[in-house]
Amino acid sequence: MSDFFLNLSGNPAAKKLITKLGLPVPMPPILKRAKGPWEDRPVNDLPVIVCHGKGGALASVMAGTLISAGAEIWLAGENQPAEVYAGLGEAWSRKPIALPESGCPESLRPHGLVFDATGFETADDMKIAYRFFHSCIRQLRSCGRIIVITRPPSAISSAGEAAAARGLQGFTRSMGREVGKKGSTANLITVDADADERLEAVLRFFLSTRSAYISGQPIHVSSAVPSPSAKPLFTKPLEGKIALVTGAARGIGAETAAAMAREGAKVIVMDLPKDEEALKQLAARLGGVPLMCDITAPDAPDAVCNLVAEKFGGLDIAIHNAGITRDKTLGKMDDKLWDQALGVNLLSVIRVNEKLIGQIREGGRIVCLSSIAGIAGNFGQTNYSASKAGIIGYVQALSKELAPKGITVNAMAPGFIETRLTAAIPLMTREVARRLCNLSQGGLPSDVAETAVYLSSPGAVGHTGQILRVCGGSFVGA
């Protein structure tokens, strides 16, 4: 399961030798990943260069976020809303520093580059973004973060404005390809004009090391789901929440359940009866409740709902993680393989939700597991792709239905994640699959788990109906 080249890259002597000899050996960067629970200040004392391209519509929310997240703020470019930053930062001794006109000083190695492009009016305005990133992208430290913020193209009236918004998507994706070799990521956030306040949680997550394996993604922040007036919690975000994680006995499921519990949730860990031992141990460790049940069994929806009703009187978070592969090329695939894959990955999710949704409380979160294969398709995985693409359609439709109830519905689409499932892939295929992304390595179950926690947190109310890829900026799938 371990990645030989990643281990090699982690050995300074070997890395130096290989680089010196110019050997054609992949040297994937060692990614920084947060350990432990959400921090009050995820970017404490880390330098972040901010540029408001045109106008400062987002100045106060960005300033407030970066200051409370502990960033050392540098403002780049002319006409920056420095007074907004200075006013908000004063009490915390976090005043913005003006970046010299000559550009990024040699000694400054920023952790983050954040560009606000919401004021862009024409395609020509992209030149401002080019200038900003051109001047400082080479200074970005390893495992750094690039974030570009625009209005969504759909919400824009003029064609020129739309061209700029969409253009920045291509621009950001390409930056992701370039900075990936140093472990850095680049993502585009599109934010509805009435959802600006919701950026805080989004920026915190995408600037932190918890988003280590998400790159090249467009992420939408909307006001579709009403949010409670209270400011979301940024430490122990899931305190007091009841969460269900299916397929929790091992791998991504177990990791997700643990991350949920770490952030304060009471977790119901569900898996097959044959995994009773592992499940009980996990539940004991997390202070959760085990539920031994085959999710495809006819009585599974009742079993889940009864447990939720009896023990907790309601549910806040449902993570539909249970999944299987039954690979065969289509001509050779028999009914059983088709039925099993569809049954676990899609049909049971729909069946369980039909019953369960009535028990999900206001402010609830549903997260389903899709896959890159569901987006791009994959050889020998017609059944799997159908089920995982089905999840996408399902999530998009269900999110609209549940939005008025304050419940968000999202999917995560993992790329190549180092699990039991991917360890079974033949060596050469596996080796190639790992490298086909910006970060040229597989992700870890914890990368998916951290994303699940994020999408389940109160602050993520701006996301619904989204398919968030956790793929390291995979080369496949649009």
Binding site: E90, A91, W92, K95
Partner: protein, 436 residues
Amino acid sequence: MDNATNGRGNSRAVIIGGVRTPFLRAFGDFMLMDTIALGAANVQKLLEKFPIDKKEINGVVWGGVILPGQSANIGREITLDSGLPREVEATTVTRACTSGMKAIAMAVEAIERGDADVMIAGGSDSTSNAEVKMPQSFVHKTAPVTMSSKSGPMDYLKLAARMKIRKDLMPQRPSVRERSTKELMGESAEKMAGRNGITREAQDALALQSHQRAAESIRNGRLAQEVCSVVNTKGKVVSADNLVRADTSLEKLAKLKPAFKKGGTLTAGNSSPLTDGSAAVLLMSREKAKALGLAPLAEFRSWSFDAVDPWDQMLMGPAFSIPRALKKAGMTLKDIGVIDIHEAFAAQVLSILKMLGNDKFAQERLGLSKAVGEILPEQINIHGGSIALGHPFGATGARMVITMANELKLSGKESAVMAICGAGGVSVGAIIVAAS
């Protein structure tokens, strides 16, 4: 004494007075005196200065930061070594640089709760005697063998074979890094200088002020009444502080290299030095003082012990503790006659002053409508501070109480506020008023 009034005290504690040893640069004339020896010598001198019947003393509360591993309750050792009756109880307090102040506060509490009538409180530290420690893996490997009566020569040979030189046998340097943040305190202060825009020039100016004022107060005898002479292990009589530089200047300070960061602003000149020393205070209930015919100098009006997030601005605590102590006392900064702020680093003091004068800080961090008050650097530390005098961690709180209590008596001023920041983000602000 019998604790007949335990928990039902309605007395006030008063400060009778205090005395401290000279503060010396580490590894100087006090090198061979550990913190216990310094404390014991100090307590003896305190009782020479205030010759009360030793039987009147109920207890000792002692502050210390670098504690000897074999006898961590140094308060008790000092009690025994200083010739107090062996029945006098003693407690040791450790709360970083606020240890001495906490010790005094606990003694005051004991008196005001009715547990005690007469207490000695203070603190000491010998940075010259920080202990070098064997790795814990050495202990874990050797203890089972050495502590077992069944161990034979072969067991010891096997043990020796299992020892790894670097991992098990290399002694660990005493760690000066914060356990939590892994930062040197100077690095934390350097960050504060950056975030609060404190210049090198402003820091050097405060350092110069500290040295000049301390030197003047030593020259004119003002501080001499607070310092006792101590005979060290070699028989040398040490009677004066040796860290104060009367002849320093801005030019000299400006020449020093940054100590904690390349291109930084903190230097050895504008930071407090490693110091050996001790300070002790005599406290009593008002009634007892009257009965013994002693004139009190001052009494505590309020204090606030606090902590801030050490990963943020570790030494910012006094900016919270001062306003909280003021609030508890029902006072504002205008009511305060003298201000004494511990100078761990000039950068830290100036950062605190800046925040105390900031409206936004008051509104968002303290819940006040406007700033606590504008304080100029010239208005604080009238007899110099820790940068010039030195900073034996546990002793500093008691040193400040002694100087301020005397100041109220001598100047006729009504009140003084003192504040100290400490490792781990702890802090204290305390207000004393002239004895009525």
